[in-house]
Protein backbone atom coordinates (compact mmCIF):
# COMPACT_ATOMS: atom_id res chain seq x y z
CA UNK A 1 0.00 0.00 0.00
CA UNK A 2 2.74 2.47 1.00
CA UNK A 3 6.27 1.48 0.21
CA UNK A 4 9.30 3.71 0.53
CA UNK A 5 12.61 2.40 -0.61
CA UNK A 6 15.77 4.37 0.12
CA UNK A 7 13.97 7.67 -0.30
CA UNK A 8 16.03 10.81 0.19
CA UNK A 9 14.88 14.39 0.00
CA UNK A 10 16.92 17.50 0.39
CA UNK A 11 15.85 21.11 0.23
CA UNK A 12 18.36 23.90 -0.48
CA UNK A 13 21.30 21.57 0.27
CA UNK A 14 19.70 20.60 3.57
CA UNK A 15 18.99 16.90 3.85
CA UNK A 16 15.50 16.28 5.26
CA UNK A 17 15.22 12.54 4.58
CA UNK A 18 18.12 10.11 4.28
CA UNK A 19 17.45 6.84 2.50
CA UNK A 20 14.18 6.36 4.38
CA UNK A 21 12.46 3.01 3.92
CA UNK A 22 9.24 1.64 5.37
CA UNK A 23 6.23 -0.35 4.33
CA UNK A 24 2.62 -0.03 5.43
CA UNK A 25 0.36 -2.74 4.12
CA UNK A 26 -3.18 -2.30 2.83
CA UNK A 27 -5.67 -1.92 5.68
CA UNK A 28 -3.02 -1.17 8.29
CA UNK A 29 -3.02 1.73 10.77
CA UNK A 30 0.32 3.44 11.26
CA UNK A 31 1.67 6.26 13.39
CA UNK A 32 4.58 8.34 12.13
CA UNK A 33 6.28 9.85 15.14
CA UNK A 34 8.88 12.55 15.03
CA UNK A 35 9.81 15.74 16.77
CA UNK A 36 8.86 19.07 15.35
CA UNK A 37 11.00 19.71 12.25
CA UNK A 38 11.94 16.05 11.88
CA UNK A 39 10.50 15.94 8.37
CA UNK A 40 7.10 14.30 8.96
CA UNK A 41 5.21 16.78 6.77
CA UNK A 42 7.86 16.46 4.06
CA UNK A 43 7.51 12.68 4.10
CA UNK A 44 3.72 12.93 3.85
CA UNK A 45 4.00 15.46 1.01
CA UNK A 46 6.16 12.95 -0.83
CA UNK A 47 3.38 10.37 -0.43
CA UNK A 48 0.77 12.48 -2.24
CA UNK A 49 3.43 13.87 -4.56
CA UNK A 50 3.32 17.48 -3.60
CA UNK A 51 7.08 17.02 -3.41
CA UNK A 52 9.30 14.82 -5.55
CA UNK A 53 12.09 12.84 -3.84
CA UNK A 54 15.72 13.53 -4.68
CA UNK A 55 16.30 9.80 -4.95
CA UNK A 56 14.67 6.47 -4.11
CA UNK A 57 11.44 4.75 -5.05
CA UNK A 58 7.96 5.44 -3.73
CA UNK A 59 4.99 3.21 -4.27
CA UNK A 60 1.58 4.28 -2.98
CA UNK A 61 -1.74 2.48 -3.60
CA UNK A 62 0.03 0.13 -5.99
CA UNK A 63 1.22 3.05 -8.09
CA UNK A 64 4.84 3.99 -8.59
CA UNK A 65 4.86 7.75 -8.04
CA UNK A 66 7.66 8.20 -10.55
CA UNK A 67 5.28 7.00 -13.28
CA UNK A 68 2.57 9.54 -12.53
CA UNK A 69 1.84 12.00 -15.32
CA UNK A 70 -0.04 15.32 -15.09
CA UNK A 71 -3.16 13.50 -16.31
CA UNK A 72 -2.92 10.51 -13.92
CA UNK A 73 -1.86 12.53 -10.85
CA UNK A 74 -5.38 13.92 -10.11
CA UNK A 75 -6.90 10.42 -10.35
CA UNK A 76 -4.26 9.14 -7.91
CA UNK A 77 -4.84 12.00 -5.46
CA UNK A 78 -8.59 11.43 -5.41
CA UNK A 79 -7.97 8.06 -3.73
CA UNK A 80 -6.21 9.78 -0.83
CA UNK A 81 -7.76 11.76 1.99
CA UNK A 82 -5.43 14.34 3.48
CA UNK A 83 -5.83 16.19 6.76
CA UNK A 84 -3.38 19.06 6.43
CA UNK A 85 -1.37 20.37 9.34
CA UNK A 86 -2.83 23.86 8.96
CA UNK A 87 -6.28 22.50 8.00
CA UNK A 88 -6.11 24.29 4.62
CA UNK A 89 -9.74 25.40 4.73
CA UNK A 90 -11.10 27.80 2.13
CA UNK A 91 -11.86 30.89 4.18
CA UNK A 92 -14.26 32.35 1.63
CA UNK A 93 -16.54 29.30 1.70
CA UNK A 94 -18.89 28.21 4.47
CA UNK A 95 -18.36 25.04 6.54
CA UNK A 96 -20.89 23.24 4.36
CA UNK A 97 -19.27 24.43 1.13
CA UNK A 98 -15.79 23.47 2.36
CA UNK A 99 -17.00 19.97 3.07
CA UNK A 100 -18.67 19.71 -0.33
CA UNK A 101 -15.52 20.50 -2.32
CA UNK A 102 -14.18 16.91 -2.65
CA UNK A 103 -17.66 15.61 -3.48
CA UNK A 104 -18.16 18.19 -6.22
CA UNK A 105 -14.77 17.31 -7.59
CA UNK A 106 -15.88 13.74 -8.27
CA UNK A 107 -19.23 14.90 -9.65
CA UNK A 108 -21.54 13.65 -6.87
CA UNK A 109 -25.22 14.35 -7.55
CA UNK A 110 -26.70 17.29 -5.67
CA UNK A 111 -29.09 15.33 -3.41
CA UNK A 112 -26.53 12.66 -2.49
CA UNK A 113 -23.94 15.37 -1.87
CA UNK A 114 -26.30 17.22 0.47
CA UNK A 115 -27.07 14.02 2.41
CA UNK A 116 -23.39 13.08 2.70
CA UNK A 117 -22.44 16.55 3.88
CA UNK A 118 -25.24 16.72 6.44
CA UNK A 119 -24.49 13.23 7.80
CA UNK A 120 -20.83 14.00 8.24
CA UNK A 121 -21.53 17.40 9.78
CA UNK A 122 -23.80 15.61 12.31
CA UNK A 123 -21.16 13.01 12.99
CA UNK A 124 -18.48 15.65 13.57
CA UNK A 125 -20.74 17.86 15.69
CA UNK A 126 -20.57 20.73 13.23
CA UNK A 127 -24.15 20.80 11.95
CA UNK A 128 -25.00 23.97 13.89
CA UNK A 129 -22.06 25.71 12.13
CA UNK A 130 -23.21 24.65 8.68
CA UNK A 131 -23.54 28.20 7.36
CA UNK A 132 -20.63 29.67 9.32
CA UNK A 133 -17.29 30.58 7.79
CA UNK A 134 -14.08 28.88 9.00
CA UNK A 135 -12.90 32.10 10.67
CA UNK A 136 -16.01 32.04 12.87
CA UNK A 137 -15.44 28.59 14.36
CA UNK A 138 -12.93 27.40 16.97
CA UNK A 139 -9.60 25.69 16.15
CA UNK A 140 -11.06 22.42 17.41
CA UNK A 141 -13.94 22.74 15.00
CA UNK A 142 -11.67 23.75 12.14
CA UNK A 143 -9.70 20.57 12.69
CA UNK A 144 -12.83 18.46 12.74
CA UNK A 145 -13.95 20.11 9.52
CA UNK A 146 -10.57 19.36 7.91
CA UNK A 147 -10.89 15.72 9.01
CA UNK A 148 -14.45 15.50 7.70
CA UNK A 149 -13.34 16.87 4.35
CA UNK A 150 -10.56 14.31 4.13
CA UNK A 151 -12.88 11.35 4.75
CA UNK A 152 -16.02 12.42 2.88
CA UNK A 153 -15.01 10.60 -0.32
CA UNK A 154 -14.17 7.37 1.58
CA UNK A 155 -10.51 7.38 0.57
CA UNK A 156 -8.38 4.25 0.23
CA UNK A 157 -5.60 5.95 2.14
CA UNK A 158 -6.00 8.55 4.88
CA UNK A 159 -3.02 10.76 5.69
CA UNK A 160 -3.29 12.85 8.86
CA UNK A 161 -0.61 15.48 9.31
CA UNK A 162 -0.51 16.36 13.03
CA UNK A 163 -4.14 17.39 12.89
CA UNK A 164 -4.87 15.99 16.33
CA UNK A 165 -2.16 18.04 18.04
CA UNK A 166 -4.32 21.00 18.93
CA UNK A 167 -7.43 19.00 19.85
CA UNK A 168 -8.10 18.41 23.53
CA UNK A 169 -7.12 14.88 24.76
CA UNK A 170 -10.71 13.61 24.78
CA UNK A 171 -11.40 14.84 21.27
CA UNK A 172 -8.06 13.51 20.03
CA UNK A 173 -9.03 10.03 21.17
CA UNK A 174 -12.47 10.45 19.61
CA UNK A 175 -10.94 11.41 16.29
CA UNK A 176 -8.53 8.50 16.48
CA UNK A 177 -11.50 6.23 17.12
CA UNK A 178 -13.09 7.60 13.99
CA UNK A 179 -9.91 6.83 12.03
CA UNK A 180 -9.90 3.38 13.62
CA UNK A 181 -13.47 2.79 12.43
CA UNK A 182 -12.49 3.85 8.92
CA UNK A 183 -9.48 1.56 9.16
CA UNK A 184 -11.79 -1.24 10.17
CA UNK A 185 -13.74 -0.65 6.96
CA UNK A 186 -10.54 -1.09 4.95
CA UNK A 187 -9.00 2.39 4.75
CA UNK A 188 -5.27 2.49 5.32
CA UNK A 189 -4.45 5.21 7.86
CA UNK A 190 -1.18 7.00 8.52
CA UNK A 191 -1.19 9.54 11.35
CA UNK A 192 1.81 11.81 11.82
CA UNK A 193 2.30 13.12 15.35
CA UNK A 194 4.94 14.72 17.53
CA UNK A 195 3.53 12.95 20.62
CA UNK A 196 5.38 9.63 21.11
CA UNK A 197 2.83 8.52 23.73
CA UNK A 198 -0.17 8.90 21.44
CA UNK A 199 -0.24 5.35 19.97
CA UNK A 200 -0.07 3.74 23.40
CA UNK A 201 -2.63 6.11 24.91
CA UNK A 202 -5.01 5.38 22.08
CA UNK A 203 -4.61 1.60 22.18
CA UNK A 204 -5.06 1.52 25.98
CA UNK A 205 -8.03 3.87 26.20
CA UNK A 206 -10.04 2.50 23.32
CA UNK A 207 -8.95 -1.07 23.69
CA UNK A 208 -7.99 -0.90 20.04
CA UNK A 209 -5.79 -3.36 18.23
CA UNK A 210 -2.05 -2.71 18.10
CA UNK A 211 -0.94 -0.14 15.56
CA UNK A 212 2.29 0.09 13.64
CA UNK A 213 4.62 2.85 14.73
CA UNK A 214 7.38 4.45 12.65
CA UNK A 215 9.80 6.89 14.17
CA UNK A 216 11.45 9.59 12.10
CA UNK A 217 14.67 10.98 13.52
CA UNK A 218 17.54 12.80 11.81
CA UNK A 219 16.11 11.91 8.43
CA UNK A 220 16.01 8.15 9.12
CA UNK A 221 12.97 5.97 9.78
CA UNK A 222 12.96 3.22 12.37
CA UNK A 223 10.11 0.77 12.88
Amino acid sequence: MIQLHQVSYSYQNLSVLEKASFRLERGEFGFLIGESGAGKTTLLKLLYRELIPSSGALNVLGQSLADLTPSTLPIFRRKIGIVFQDCNLVETKTVEQNLAIPQKLIGTKKQILRDNVNNLLHQMGLIHHKKAFPKDISSNERNRLAIARAIINSPLLLIVDQATEILDPKLTLEMLSLFDALNFQGTTVLVATADPELPDKFVRSKNASTKRVFTLKDGYITT
Binding site: S71, R77, P102
Partner: protein, 293 residues
Amino acid sequence: MRYQIQNAFIHIGQKSTINLFSIIALSFLTLLLSAFLFNHSSIYKELLHRETTAPLIAFANDIVVEEEARLFANQIRKTQHILHIEYVSKEENYTRAERQFGHLGKLIKNAMSGSNPFPASLEIYVDPTNTSRKSLEKIAFELEAYDKIDDVVLTGHGVLTDIFRQTNRMTVASIAITVLLSLLFTYTAVLKTGKNRHQEIQLLNLIGATRGYIRAPFILHGMFIGFSGALLGLACFYFLYCVFTFQLGVLEFLPYRQLIAIVISGTIIGLFAGIFAHRNYVVSCRKKALNIT
Protein backbone atom coordinates in the same frame (compact mmCIF):
# COMPACT_ATOMS: atom_id res chain seq x y z
CA MET B 1 -19.75 22.41 -15.35
CA ARG B 2 -22.57 23.91 -13.28
CA TYR B 3 -20.25 24.00 -10.26
CA GLN B 4 -17.57 25.73 -12.30
CA ILE B 5 -20.04 28.32 -13.60
CA GLN B 6 -21.29 28.91 -10.05
CA ASN B 7 -17.72 29.13 -8.84
CA ALA B 8 -16.74 31.58 -11.55
CA PHE B 9 -19.58 33.92 -10.51
CA ILE B 10 -18.82 33.57 -6.78
CA HIS B 11 -15.23 34.58 -7.46
CA ILE B 12 -16.25 37.49 -9.65
CA GLY B 13 -18.32 38.65 -6.68
CA GLN B 14 -15.39 38.29 -4.30
CA LYS B 15 -13.20 40.59 -6.39
CA SER B 16 -16.09 42.73 -7.52
CA THR B 17 -14.31 46.09 -7.80
CA ILE B 18 -11.67 45.05 -10.31
CA ASN B 19 -14.18 42.97 -12.27
CA LEU B 20 -16.65 45.83 -12.39
CA PHE B 21 -13.89 48.19 -13.48
CA SER B 22 -12.83 45.81 -16.21
CA ILE B 23 -16.41 45.39 -17.50
CA ILE B 24 -16.86 49.19 -17.55
CA ALA B 25 -13.50 49.64 -19.32
CA LEU B 26 -14.50 47.05 -21.93
CA SER B 27 -17.88 48.73 -22.40
CA PHE B 28 -16.17 52.06 -22.97
CA LEU B 29 -13.82 50.52 -25.51
CA THR B 30 -16.76 48.81 -27.26
CA LEU B 31 -18.59 52.15 -27.30
CA LEU B 32 -15.64 53.87 -28.97
CA LEU B 33 -15.19 51.02 -31.44
CA SER B 34 -18.90 51.08 -32.28
CA ALA B 35 -18.66 54.82 -32.95
CA PHE B 36 -15.79 54.21 -35.38
CA LEU B 37 -17.64 51.35 -37.07
CA PHE B 38 -20.80 53.42 -37.28
CA ASN B 39 -18.91 56.29 -38.86
CA HIS B 40 -17.16 53.93 -41.26
CA SER B 41 -20.32 52.15 -42.33
CA SER B 42 -22.24 55.43 -42.79
CA ILE B 43 -19.54 56.90 -45.03
CA TYR B 44 -19.30 53.64 -46.94
CA LYS B 45 -23.07 53.66 -47.56
CA GLU B 46 -22.89 57.27 -48.72
CA LEU B 47 -20.06 56.38 -51.11
CA LEU B 48 -22.07 53.47 -52.52
CA HIS B 49 -25.02 55.78 -52.93
CA ARG B 50 -22.89 58.24 -54.87
CA GLU B 51 -21.30 55.61 -57.08
CA THR B 52 -23.79 56.46 -59.86
CA THR B 53 -23.17 60.21 -59.71
CA ALA B 54 -20.30 61.86 -61.48
CA PRO B 55 -17.49 63.21 -59.27
CA LEU B 56 -16.98 66.18 -61.64
CA ILE B 57 -19.45 68.26 -63.62
CA ALA B 58 -18.14 70.70 -66.22
CA PHE B 59 -20.64 73.34 -67.36
CA ALA B 60 -20.25 74.39 -70.98
CA ASN B 61 -20.58 77.90 -72.42
CA ASP B 62 -23.97 78.76 -73.83
CA ILE B 63 -22.40 79.28 -77.24
CA VAL B 64 -21.16 75.70 -77.39
CA VAL B 65 -23.47 73.55 -79.48
CA GLU B 66 -24.04 69.83 -78.89
CA GLU B 67 -21.72 68.61 -81.68
CA GLU B 68 -18.94 70.82 -80.43
CA ALA B 69 -19.39 69.68 -76.84
CA ARG B 70 -19.31 66.00 -77.83
CA LEU B 71 -16.16 66.60 -79.84
CA PHE B 72 -14.59 68.35 -76.90
CA ALA B 73 -15.58 65.48 -74.59
CA ASN B 74 -13.81 63.00 -76.89
CA GLN B 75 -10.78 65.24 -76.97
CA ILE B 76 -10.33 65.58 -73.18
CA ARG B 77 -11.07 61.89 -72.56
CA LYS B 78 -7.81 61.08 -74.34
CA THR B 79 -5.70 63.49 -72.33
CA GLN B 80 -7.01 63.05 -68.76
CA HIS B 81 -7.46 60.08 -66.37
CA ILE B 82 -11.05 59.98 -67.38
CA LEU B 83 -13.10 56.83 -67.74
CA HIS B 84 -16.24 58.15 -69.25
CA ILE B 85 -17.91 61.47 -70.12
CA GLU B 86 -21.61 61.91 -70.48
CA TYR B 87 -23.01 64.90 -72.31
CA VAL B 88 -26.16 66.39 -70.74
CA SER B 89 -27.98 68.89 -72.91
CA LYS B 90 -29.57 72.15 -71.72
CA GLU B 91 -33.02 70.54 -72.09
CA GLU B 92 -32.06 67.49 -70.12
CA ASN B 93 -30.66 69.68 -67.32
CA TYR B 94 -33.86 71.66 -67.30
CA THR B 95 -35.95 68.46 -67.08
CA ARG B 96 -33.75 67.23 -64.24
CA ALA B 97 -34.15 70.51 -62.36
CA GLU B 98 -37.90 70.34 -62.82
CA ARG B 99 -37.88 66.82 -61.46
CA GLN B 100 -35.67 67.85 -58.55
CA PHE B 101 -37.25 71.19 -57.65
CA GLY B 102 -40.80 70.66 -58.95
CA HIS B 103 -42.67 73.88 -59.61
CA LEU B 104 -39.57 75.93 -58.67
CA GLY B 105 -38.01 74.82 -61.95
CA LYS B 106 -40.95 76.38 -63.84
CA LEU B 107 -40.72 79.56 -61.77
CA ILE B 108 -37.07 79.90 -62.78
CA LYS B 109 -37.95 79.41 -66.44
CA ASN B 110 -40.78 81.95 -66.24
CA ALA B 111 -38.47 84.43 -64.54
CA MET B 112 -36.11 84.07 -67.48
CA SER B 113 -39.02 84.96 -69.83
CA GLY B 114 -39.39 81.47 -71.26
CA SER B 115 -35.75 80.80 -72.06
CA ASN B 116 -33.87 77.89 -70.50
CA PRO B 117 -31.27 79.22 -68.04
CA PHE B 118 -29.63 75.83 -67.49
CA PRO B 119 -26.31 75.25 -69.32
CA ALA B 120 -25.32 72.06 -71.07
CA SER B 121 -22.89 70.01 -69.00
CA LEU B 122 -20.36 67.21 -69.17
CA GLU B 123 -20.61 64.63 -66.38
CA ILE B 124 -17.10 63.33 -65.95
CA TYR B 125 -16.43 59.92 -64.40
CA VAL B 126 -12.80 59.30 -63.47
CA ASP B 127 -10.72 56.23 -62.73
CA PRO B 128 -11.81 54.92 -59.23
CA THR B 129 -8.15 54.87 -58.10
CA ASN B 130 -7.96 58.54 -58.89
CA THR B 131 -10.87 59.89 -56.87
CA SER B 132 -8.99 61.65 -54.08
CA ARG B 133 -9.88 65.28 -53.56
CA LYS B 134 -6.45 66.43 -54.75
CA SER B 135 -6.52 64.58 -58.06
CA LEU B 136 -10.10 65.64 -58.78
CA GLU B 137 -9.20 69.27 -58.08
CA LYS B 138 -6.27 68.92 -60.44
CA ILE B 139 -8.50 67.62 -63.24
CA ALA B 140 -11.06 70.37 -62.52
CA PHE B 141 -8.35 73.03 -62.69
CA GLU B 142 -7.11 71.71 -66.03
CA LEU B 143 -10.67 71.61 -67.44
CA GLU B 144 -11.38 75.16 -66.37
CA ALA B 145 -8.50 76.31 -68.58
CA TYR B 146 -10.53 75.43 -71.70
CA ASP B 147 -12.53 78.35 -73.12
CA LYS B 148 -15.48 76.06 -73.85
CA ILE B 149 -15.94 75.41 -70.14
CA ASP B 150 -17.54 78.00 -67.91
CA ASP B 151 -17.25 76.29 -64.58
CA VAL B 152 -16.30 72.92 -63.07
CA VAL B 153 -17.86 71.69 -59.82
CA LEU B 154 -16.82 68.84 -57.58
CA THR B 155 -19.79 66.84 -56.26
CA GLY B 156 -18.08 65.92 -52.96
CA HIS B 157 -16.88 62.54 -54.15
CA GLY B 158 -13.24 63.40 -53.56
CA VAL B 159 -13.76 64.72 -50.04
CA LEU B 160 -15.86 61.69 -49.18
CA THR B 161 -13.28 59.26 -50.59
CA ASP B 162 -10.55 60.96 -48.58
CA ILE B 163 -12.63 60.81 -45.40
CA PHE B 164 -13.48 57.17 -46.10
CA ARG B 165 -9.78 56.27 -46.48
CA GLN B 166 -8.94 58.05 -43.23
CA THR B 167 -11.87 56.41 -41.45
CA ASN B 168 -10.74 53.05 -42.78
CA ARG B 169 -7.29 53.50 -41.26
CA MET B 170 -8.72 54.79 -37.98
CA THR B 171 -11.22 51.92 -37.75
CA VAL B 172 -8.52 49.31 -38.29
CA ALA B 173 -6.33 51.02 -35.67
CA SER B 174 -9.22 51.27 -33.22
CA ILE B 175 -10.03 47.56 -33.69
CA ALA B 176 -6.40 46.65 -32.93
CA ILE B 177 -6.23 48.95 -29.89
CA THR B 178 -9.60 47.73 -28.58
CA VAL B 179 -8.54 44.08 -28.90
CA LEU B 180 -5.23 44.69 -27.12
CA LEU B 181 -6.69 46.81 -24.30
CA SER B 182 -9.63 44.43 -23.83
CA LEU B 183 -7.22 41.52 -23.57
CA LEU B 184 -5.15 43.44 -21.03
CA PHE B 185 -8.09 44.52 -18.85
CA THR B 186 -9.75 41.10 -18.88
CA TYR B 187 -6.45 39.30 -18.29
CA THR B 188 -5.66 41.52 -15.28
CA ALA B 189 -9.10 41.04 -13.74
CA VAL B 190 -9.05 37.25 -14.22
CA LEU B 191 -5.49 36.91 -12.93
CA LYS B 192 -6.14 39.04 -9.84
CA THR B 193 -9.30 37.06 -9.09
CA GLY B 194 -7.36 33.81 -9.61
CA LYS B 195 -4.67 34.93 -7.19
CA ASN B 196 -7.39 35.78 -4.70
CA ARG B 197 -8.57 32.16 -5.01
CA HIS B 198 -5.05 30.82 -4.60
CA GLN B 199 -5.78 28.94 -1.39
CA GLU B 200 -8.75 27.14 -2.91
CA ILE B 201 -6.91 26.33 -6.14
CA GLN B 202 -3.99 24.91 -4.18
CA LEU B 203 -6.37 22.75 -2.19
CA LEU B 204 -8.25 21.60 -5.30
CA ASN B 205 -4.94 20.64 -6.87
CA LEU B 206 -3.91 18.58 -3.84
CA ILE B 207 -7.19 16.71 -3.58
CA GLY B 208 -7.25 15.69 -7.21
CA ALA B 209 -8.70 18.43 -9.42
CA THR B 210 -7.71 18.05 -13.05
CA ARG B 211 -6.05 20.83 -15.02
CA GLY B 212 -9.30 21.44 -16.90
CA TYR B 213 -11.27 21.69 -13.66
CA ILE B 214 -8.91 24.37 -12.33
CA ARG B 215 -8.69 26.20 -15.65
CA ALA B 216 -12.44 26.30 -16.38
CA PRO B 217 -13.33 29.13 -13.93
CA PHE B 218 -10.51 31.26 -15.39
CA ILE B 219 -11.88 30.81 -18.92
CA LEU B 220 -15.53 31.22 -17.94
CA HIS B 221 -14.64 34.33 -15.98
CA GLY B 222 -12.81 35.84 -18.97
CA MET B 223 -15.66 34.99 -21.32
CA PHE B 224 -18.19 36.52 -18.96
CA ILE B 225 -16.25 39.80 -18.74
CA GLY B 226 -15.75 39.91 -22.53
CA PHE B 227 -19.39 39.12 -23.25
CA SER B 228 -20.91 41.52 -20.71
CA GLY B 229 -18.45 44.31 -21.57
CA ALA B 230 -19.30 44.07 -25.28
CA LEU B 231 -23.03 43.86 -24.62
CA LEU B 232 -23.03 46.79 -22.19
CA GLY B 233 -20.95 48.87 -24.61
CA LEU B 234 -23.38 48.21 -27.47
CA ALA B 235 -26.35 48.98 -25.23
CA CYS B 236 -24.75 52.34 -24.29
CA PHE B 237 -24.05 53.05 -27.95
CA TYR B 238 -27.66 52.24 -28.90
CA PHE B 239 -28.88 54.54 -26.14
CA LEU B 240 -26.69 57.37 -27.44
CA TYR B 241 -27.84 56.65 -31.01
CA CYS B 242 -31.47 56.96 -29.90
CA VAL B 243 -30.76 60.17 -28.00
CA PHE B 244 -29.00 61.79 -30.94
CA THR B 245 -31.16 60.35 -33.76
CA PHE B 246 -32.58 63.78 -34.58
CA GLN B 247 -29.03 65.04 -35.19
CA LEU B 248 -27.89 61.98 -37.11
CA GLY B 249 -30.82 62.21 -39.50
CA VAL B 250 -31.42 59.13 -41.61
CA LEU B 251 -28.23 57.26 -40.65
CA GLU B 252 -28.94 53.63 -39.91
CA PHE B 253 -27.72 51.81 -36.77
CA LEU B 254 -24.95 49.21 -37.08
CA PRO B 255 -26.04 46.12 -39.04
CA TYR B 256 -27.02 42.98 -37.03
CA ARG B 257 -24.10 40.91 -38.27
CA GLN B 258 -21.70 43.58 -36.99
CA LEU B 259 -23.41 43.66 -33.59
CA ILE B 260 -23.22 39.86 -33.31
CA ALA B 261 -19.58 39.93 -34.42
CA ILE B 262 -18.72 42.48 -31.70
CA VAL B 263 -20.32 40.36 -28.95
CA ILE B 264 -18.71 37.14 -30.21
CA SER B 265 -15.33 38.87 -30.52
CA GLY B 266 -15.64 40.18 -26.94
CA THR B 267 -16.38 36.66 -25.70
CA ILE B 268 -13.46 35.18 -27.67
CA ILE B 269 -11.10 37.86 -26.37
CA GLY B 270 -12.29 36.96 -22.85
CA LEU B 271 -11.63 33.29 -23.55
CA PHE B 272 -8.04 33.99 -24.59
CA ALA B 273 -7.53 36.38 -21.67
CA GLY B 274 -8.72 33.55 -19.36
CA ILE B 275 -6.30 31.07 -20.94
CA PHE B 276 -3.38 33.53 -20.67
CA ALA B 277 -4.28 34.41 -17.07
CA HIS B 278 -4.39 30.72 -16.10
CA ARG B 279 -1.04 30.10 -17.80
CA ASN B 280 0.54 33.05 -16.00
CA TYR B 281 -0.98 31.88 -12.71
CA VAL B 282 0.50 28.39 -13.14
CA VAL B 283 3.91 29.87 -14.02
CA SER B 284 3.86 32.10 -10.93
CA CYS B 285 2.90 29.09 -8.77
CA ARG B 286 5.77 27.07 -10.24
CA LYS B 287 8.13 29.93 -9.40
CA LYS B 288 6.89 29.69 -5.83
CA ALA B 289 7.55 25.91 -6.08
CA LEU B 290 3.90 24.98 -5.70
CA ASN B 291 3.03 22.00 -7.78
CA ILE B 292 -0.10 23.38 -9.47
CA THR B 293 -0.94 21.82 -12.82
